[in-house]
Symmetry: C2
Subunit: 395 residues, 2 copies
Amino acid sequence: MKRNPLFAGLSEKYLFHEVKTRVEAFKKSHPNAHVISLGIGDTTEPLVETIAREIKNTGHELETVQGYRGYGPEQGILELRKAIQETLYTKTPSVSEQDIFISDGAKCDISRLHLLFGEDTNVAVQEPSYPAYKDSSLLLRKKNPIPLPCLTRNQGIISLDLEALPDETLVFLCSPNNPTGTLFTRSEIEKLIQAAKKKKHILIFDVAYRDYAEDGAITSIYEIPGADEVAIEIGSFSKSAGFSGIRLGWTVIPEKIQYSDGKSVRNDFMRLITTTFNGASYITQKAGLTALGHEGRLKTLEQVHFYKENTRILRDALVQKGANVFGGKEAPYLWITTRFEKSWDAFEYFLHTGQLVTTPGIGFGASGEGFVRISGFGRREVILEASQRILQLDL
Amino acid sequence: MKRNPLFAGLSEKYLFHEVKTRVEAFKKSHPNAHVISLGIGDTTEPLVETIAREIKNTGHELETVQGYRGYGPEQGILELRKAIQETLYTKTPSVSEQDIFISDGAKCDISRLHLLFGEDTNVAVQEPSYPAYKDSSLLLRKKNPIPLPCLTRNQGIISLDLEALPDETLVFLCSPNNPTGTLFTRSEIEKLIQAAKKKKHILIFDVAYRDYAEDGAITSIYEIPGADEVAIEIGSFSKSAGFSGIRLGWTVIPEKIQYSDGKSVRNDFMRLITTTFNGASYITQKAGLTALGHEGRLKTLEQVHFYKENTRILRDALVQKGANVFGGKEAPYLWITTRFEKSWDAFEYFLHTGQLVTTPGIGFGASGEGFVRISGFGRREVILEASQRILQLDL
């Protein structure tokens, strides 16, 4: 059996796997080191009580004759689709619950969207960005995405020019952005939508960090008129409600988005998921429903606020030591440059001198060279200790 | 944006979706009908108590600082991989926990395996079979699989000849088979493995119904020497433990399976899942661990026995009415022919005359024409009522 040639085009290790390998080697040679991770962006606060209670209730429900449920709809249970529509899309009446597809997470839906549009479609990716956009494009569609730098060490913040792309490009965007922590303004998004209409692009707008945005920021692309003709939106419960281990996300595909032959994109996505997916776990869907209820929303937003406060503490220490710091106000990530020219050199310095794990910016794309990403997820006492260590470093 | 041409090759509706549409139309025109579903193979017994208890425990664990878990390994938690190895692969020492990949269900893994092997690979599918093998091949890889009929109305049971296939074919097999309810014997599997070695095929062996086999039957292909060089196995908790709504399965890729260039297939699958998937829900993984424990295994096998008894009750009624019945002894499905030449005609007769939903055999492939599949899942009182109705029919 011949090997799939698409696999040869990828590095053997996913970014976070390489980080893990280096950290393990360090721990082996420094067995007494107390390493703190500010690396992979993983939630650390326990599930809020009302969500945990709903998980227990659902466990009980499933052991009763009346409450047992087998296969659910691939698109997700209607109650949850309605709750997402009513809670997160209040300002965007064009989004209906029929446009919302529940999934087991944004990472999985990114891959599904690559499969939806087929191998000949051009792809562009805001850069730096979450590695899964590019890797899944290489792996599933042979397409090396066109990079759209939005922030580089030498040039600072750069506006994206979608008119320079070939016609009919699939454009991956993320706001608030992982890793830079920056987000698009209303007028920037208006320009993106105009360009998409003109050039027949489809925008994939990832709002996994929407709850970290400040009041008044754009948290759904559908707040901007015309977006429902050109934009698909991906959301996630991972960073908003601590669901990274129990898996829940969604994708919005408005009815108005059509192929050039007039066929519905939403219908094809339905065909794709009914063929390749069997829905997110019923237990997690019920937990998600509770996360969107009054108490669930209040308590999970308190956790978001807690992670933002963590990020502020780290930001203050970094600024005090002279690092050049972007982001961190509307995202749980700081994107910084230091005296090191190379990301991996800065990574090694943080690891060896501060016993701190960061993520090298180069892992998020070529324009990330020279940066490291610092995550604000962590228990408060750990973040305070990390901040003390940063104050001992020479950045 | 152009439409992905692969979608045009598929019918708009998945088999079970078409069945649902016809049933809904019937109910609308017969509002007083009491329709019983013997159609889609969906579990109906509540989760066993010990599994439900573990779901509640995990809900509690996740609301504590010590017990909270974020992202888990994409391959699944080690305890569950070990438990699968130690419980379900006792007779097959060649399978290690490193070969086992936990997933959110067999349907999802079928698609991932298509993506793994790339678009140029030939595909063959045992027929009749679960529609997802063929549909996902058409949708993801442009490949219309070569049908391998194993049971047809005119010719009865047919041995599969894998030597007649082109070299290096990916062959999807299912035993005990859905929908026919038949399973491969040891000598049949020996021949399949020999042919695979000779022709450099890779077999995808689906054992979703393994727990329905009688004592002494082959329930893993790795029981046969040499299988670990040519076979990938897919398993599921859906029909064994009632997990169809909470989503858990696994795939075994033995270390010895290599591409012609000597590279490891297992490594590429790891790369695929780390790029496109973030693991099954932690709650469901913990539930799966309990399902494999002493009490969990005992109680879930009692449920399997209950569904088999249901199937026997329906079988007796069908045989009494003169239907020609296959399967049902080692699977929860009966695969029958009646006086109707066409599957959809038989389907309509069952629906209109018996108010019984079946699944038309033609939906499982061309060689399924003339058959209908009858599922033994259901509450006992419902199955007894269905059996009484069958006795009133003219088959």
